[in-house]
């Protein structure tokens, strides 16, 4: 590594370029970022491993970036050493708020688009955010080494979108490294240096914070004005809390402690605090001794959009689940949870997530990092219910849905943007209508790709919409959505009864028109999943006291092995021992034994495709008239 001249805390703002990379999942952001690190010389060749910036296992495996990271790297151009702050942003819609904070920390953004795919909906919405923030956009097509790349076509699409010339769209290959050097030079040339006031009281934007089990919270900050120094108390402006910074530093690409961080620089601060909620993304850090008057604008608390109950399969694991959630929360400020009791599933937590991916990541981390065996109930949104008598309540869980006369129910809606090749317009429209979407406008991005705008209930999106969209468009469509308030809807709660007993874990709030299909599908699924027992088990779906679907598991008549002579005895005993172990994974619902797998499978989404299901749904709906 060459000798770096610009020292943290002592780097003139005019030499600093802070930028991020906006890209869709799989468009090669991490590969390009890796190349940049490599070219800058701060990562020795032999230490390069793919996707250096993505640190968590899940990120590496799924190839997506969940938490943004910020790297400081030197870049020499025309004999001058510049200091680049490269901020990695999450690409998924669930993390829009985190993306917006990351954008706030930059003056420029590289718009990275896969030359084989073109721009996607989430990239587009991030791009609009960046444009709103007046970031300098450097458009880049990646993967030009691939035979299927169509750089000319997609360059035109991008040029139309941001209003630049075709030849301003750079062409690179993260894989071969082609064009990456030119890209960084362009960043140095075009991205404006930070314009903070180095003399003003310190203001630093928290754009990310992660929990490190050895060091506590590592808070990533972008210095806007003034400077922060070690051994001077800092204050979190929205919380009003004061901390002693244990360490200030920059990431290059390892954590390097520094004495100070000056205006325009990107770095980190460690306070020894163990809880991410003490270091909220979007908050402003200032110097306690010489505090700023005003925090930086735009702070908001993350709002969970989707709720789901998480229950340990073995109820004895409840305290461990609590500990695990507490630990995850240190790392993930957006995660909220409160204890919940289910008749069927026992003790667990109702958790709020930013979206489905967030939920998946959390449950996966719980199982992987904390070894928890969990049942997650079907995700749902929050409903505002107004009763006839005027009382109002917020329903975060189907089991909280009130009995009695309901006057009005409102549910959250979103504006959904879908980009799709034009040949799939028809099936996307059909899908959106099926999901109670109202069509807005539709724009052609290029002669063969359109962006469609819908308003639709969030509840329709959280269930299985995205998977269906992908399957109907052969994977070509992309989706983005933003919250758009709420509206009233004709919703009912469907209960599932096993042997006459209501199983709260299977209750769902669904649109009246979908109640029958939910009821039929759920009862059929459970009939398949619950093993026969020595008595008949009716499985019913009901709205209030009205039964809308019914299946019956007939009584088990025979389970015995025919023979039990010499050698059979050992075999049978071993079988018995195996069954005994299997029974530990059964939940008793009344007298009925239900395998844990049944909960998991029943709560997973699935399309009704078979004839019998469709007939039954039609019949149930018809009977209703």
């Amino acid at each position: 590594m060459e000798h770096v001249k610009n020292q943290p805390g002592f780097t003139d703002q005019s030499l600093i370029r802070n930028f991020c990379i906006i890209a869709h999942i799989d468009h090669g952001k991490s590969t390009v970022a890796d190349r940049i690190l490599q070219l800058s010389g701060i990562v020795p060749q032999r230490e390069m491993h793919d996707r250096f910036l993505d640190r968590m296992d899940i990120e590496q495996e799924r190839g997506i970036t969940i938490k943004s990271q910020a790297v400081r790297l030197p870049w020499v151009k025309d004999g001058t050493e510049y200091t680049l702050g490269m901020i990695d942003t999450p690409g998924h819609v669930d993390f829009t708020y985190e993306v917006s904070r990351a954008l706030e920390a930059c003056e420029g953004a590289v718009l990275l688009v896969d030359a084989t795919q073109g721009i996607e909906a989430q990239t587009l919405s991030n791009l609009y955010m960046a444009l709103d923030d007046d970031l300098t956009i450097i458009p880049v097509l990646n993967k030009i080494d691939l035979p299927s790349a169509e750089p000319d076509k997609h360059a035109e699409e991008i040029a139309n979108l941001i209003g630049c010339d075709l030849d301003q769209v750079l062409r690179v290959s993260g894989k071969t490294g082609e064009g990456v050097h030119e890209l960084v030079d362009r960043i140095v040339e075009e991205v404006p240096p930070p314009q903070g006031d180095p003399k003003a009281p310190a203001r630093a934007l928290i754009f990310d914070s992660v929990y490190d089990s050895y060091r506590g919270i590592v808070t990533y900050i972008r210095m806007m004005d003034g400077e922060l120094k070690t051994r001077r108390k800092i204050r979190m402006m929205s919380l009003g809390t004061v901390h002693d910074p244990i360490e200030l530093g920059v990431i290059s690409p390892d954590m390097i402690p520094t004495k100070a961080l000056g205006a325009g620089e990107v770095g980190y601060v460690i306070t020894g605090v163990k809880d991410v909620s003490q270091s909220k993304v979007g908050d402003t850090v200032t110097d306690e001794a010489r505090p700023a008057d005003e925090p930086l604008p735009g702070y908001q608390d993350p709002q969970p959009m989707v709720y789901s109950g998480l229950f340990p399969i073995d109820n004895a694991q409840f305290p461990e689940l609590r500990d695990a959630l507490d630990k995850l929360k240190l790392n993930d400020a957006a995660l909220v949870y409160e204890p919940e009791t289910s008749v069927a599933l026992g003790f667990g937590f109702r958790c709020g997530f930013l979206g489905l991916l967030h939920m998946e990541i959390v449950t996966e981390r719980l199982s992987r990092e904390f070894d928890m065996d969990l049942i997650a109930t079907a995700p749902n949104v929050t409903y505002q219910v107004t009763m006839e008598d005027g009382t109002e309540l917020l329903v975060k869980n189907p089991s909280e849905f009130p009995e009695g006369k309901v006057k009005k129910i409102t549910e959250p809606v979103v504006n959904a943007d879908i980009i799709t090749p034009k040949e799939f317009i028809g099936s996307v429209m059909e899908l959106c209508q099926d999901h109670r979407g109202q069509m807005g406008t539709m724009e052609y991005l290029s002669p063969d790709r359109v962006e469609m705008h819908y308003t639709m209930p969030l509840a329709e999106i959280v269930f299985d919409f995205f998977d269906q969209l992908k399957s109907r468009t052969k994977g070509y469509a992309s989706l983005d959505y933003q919250s758009a308030g709420s509206r009233s809807a004709d919703l009912v709660k469907v209960d599932i009864l096993i042997q006459g007993e209501k199983i709260d874990a299977f209750s769902a709030i669904v649109h009246k028109d979908k109640a029958y299909s939910y009821g039929v599908m759920m009862t059929k699924k459970l009939r398949r999943l619950i093993p026969r027992q020595q008595f008949e088990i009716p499985i019913q779906a009901a709205i209030g006291s009205r039964i809308i679907a019914r299946e019956t598991i007939s009584a088990l008549r025979k389970d015995v092995l025919a023979k039990c002579y010499g050698g059979d005895i050992t075999r049978k005993r071993k079988l018995l021992e195996k069954q005994k172990a299997g029974k530990k994974r059964m939940k008793m619902l009344g007298h009925v034994q239900v395998p844990q797998e049944a909960f998991i499978a029943a709560l997973s989404t699935e399309q009704a495709t078979d004839r019998d299901t469709k007939d039954k749904i039609r019949a149930a709906a018809k009977k209703e008239g």
Binding site: Q534, S554, L556, R557, K558, D559, V560, L561, A562, K563, C564, Y565, G566, G567, I569, T570, K572, R573, L576, E577, Q579, K580, K583
Partner: protein, 468 residues
């Protein structure tokens, strides 16, 4: 020195004329499996194993009483010349002695025996023949790959009975394509034979058999548990009506004609299993012994057993398995019948047992399955076991519960408590009674017909309530 429970000998004959599509037993159609393991030499090999067994018992301080029953199973024991069977019986008698009135049974394929054959058996002391009738309906027999005709069975059973042999027939129900009416035909045919004993087994579909594969790939309909339940009930009705009472889930007999050998299995007596894949069992020295010759009505008359019968040390729950390859070595070691063992041999194979070889616990062992490997292990002078395990007291308990609940004599809760210190909870017993799965008979619980069909459930509940 105390008294051992009755001692039985099972002899497996691993040869068949042809393999039936439903059967996964350890049997071979080849006449010679190499390494001396041929049909011709089979009796010699089995006799050699008896000698090794006897030597093994002695090395462990196990002194068995005279044999109370011998059972030839297979395979097809009657594929061997009758004199071979006779030689094996004589050898067993010479080694252990034979109780007066001992029961000696062979399974017989109706195709392989005739009057002359049966007469030879009687001369050799056989008392009982169990015919593999399976069905009286030609299309069912065909699906089962059975070559005999129903007439064969009638002739053989009549001959056997005329000669004074006890005759039993085995039936199979639930064969793909078999209707309830077909099954009734078979049951009635069996009853018309006038036999005193009938075994009726639900077809157990084994995935590795020709039939198992045919069902798995949809070429044959899968047997349905509900149909089989109806067939079981029909069997129970018709057989009971004909004077044959159930005494075990799959066995019916006129009183006094129960198969004593099989009762021994369910009462956990000692037996030496001879032949490839055969299992042996030696009861724990603490466990309750069962008196020979007790019938199902007073089935558990037992005497106290003084502890320390075996030279024992309390070591439990060990299991050792001999790698298959070890048995296959073509060792040309001389001096058969002598335990040549090595320090690294598993505990049960050491000629001078170490501490763990002298366990007090119940022992189950199983012979090497392939006849050639089985034979060559004996050539090295070793008992041809593939593996053996000692049972923990809880495994012993599990087996007792699971075996007794299959029997008409039932599970004696008081005896169970005396012996193991455990008793199922009264709540569970009441539940099972209310659900019609068991009834009580003094201190015993006995499965009802529904409880026989749902026997696994009953066993599971009882064991659960003991666990809890």
């Amino acid at each position: 020195m105390g008294e051992r429970p009755p001692f039985e000998v099972y002899i497996h004959v691993p040869f068949c004329l042809r393999r039936c599509g439903y059967c996964d037993f350890n049997t071979y159609t080849a006449t010679d499996l190499g390494g001396g393991a041929s049909r011709k030499h089979y009796a010699d090999l089995a006799i050699r194993e008896m000698e090794l067994s006897k030597a093994w018992q002695e090395s462990r301080g196990i002194v068995e009483p005279a044999i109370s029953s011998i059972f030839f199973g297979g395979g097809t024991p009657t594929i061997l010349p009758p004199d071979d069977l006779g030689r094996m019986v004589r050898a067993a008698r010479d080694l252990w002695g034979l109780e007066d009135g001992a029961e000696i049974t062979t399974e017989a394929n109706p195709d392989t025996v005739d009057a002359a054959y049966l007469e030879t058996l009687i001369q050799d002391g056989f008392t009982r023949v169990s015919f593999g009738m399976q069905s009286a309906v030609p299309h069912v027999l065909k699906t089962l790959d059975r070559t005999h005709t129903p007439a064969n069975v009638t002739a053989n059973v009549e001959t056997a009975r005329a000669l004074g042999l006890e005759a039993s027939v085995d039936l199979i129900y639930g064969t793909p394509g078999e209707s309830l009416a077909d099954w009734r035909t078979s049951l009635e045919a069996a009853i018309d034979l006038g036999v005193d004993h009938v075994s009726a087994y639900a077809l157990t579909l084994e995935p590795t058999t020709k039939m198992g594969r045919a069902v798995a790939t949809g070429r044959m309909p899968r047997p349905n548990d509900d149909d089989e339940a109806a067939m079981y009930e029909l069997a129970d009705d018709l057989l009971t009506g004909a004077g044959l009472d159930w005494y075990e889930i799959s066995n019916w007999a006129r009183p006094g004609h129960e198969c004593r050998h099989n009762l021994g299995y369910w009462r956990n007596v000692d037996w030496a299993g001879i032949g490839p894949g055969a299992h042996s069992h030696y009861l724990s020295v603490e466990a309750e012994p069962v008196k020979a010759g007790s019938t199902c009505e007073d089935g558990t008359g037992e005497s106290a057993l003084s502890p320390g019968f075996r030279r024992t040390l309390p070591v439990e729950g060990r299991e050792h398995v001999l790698p298959e390859s070890q048995g296959k070595g073509d060792a040309d070691l001389p001096s058969p019948f002598k335990m040549n063992s090595y320090p690294l041999d598993p505990w049960w194979q050491q000629s001078v047992p170490g501490a763990e070889g002298l366990t007090r616990a119940s022992i189950r062992s199983w012979d090497i399955r392939h006849p050639r490997a089985w034979a060559s292990t004996m050539l090295r002078g070793l008992i041809p076991w593939q593996g053996a395990e000692t049972l923990t007291s809880s495994q012993d308990l599990e087996e007792t519960v699971m075996l007794r609940l299959r029997m008409r004599e039932g599970l004696d809760l008081e005896k169970l408590e005396t012996r193991t210190g455990f008793r199922p909870s009264p709540g569970t017993i009441d539940d099972l009674i209310n659900q019609g799965l068991i009834h009580t008979d003094g201190s015993r619980i006995v499965a009802t017909r529904q409880g026989r069909l749902l026997n696994d459930l009953v066993i599971e509940r009882i064991l659960e309530s003991i666990d809890a």
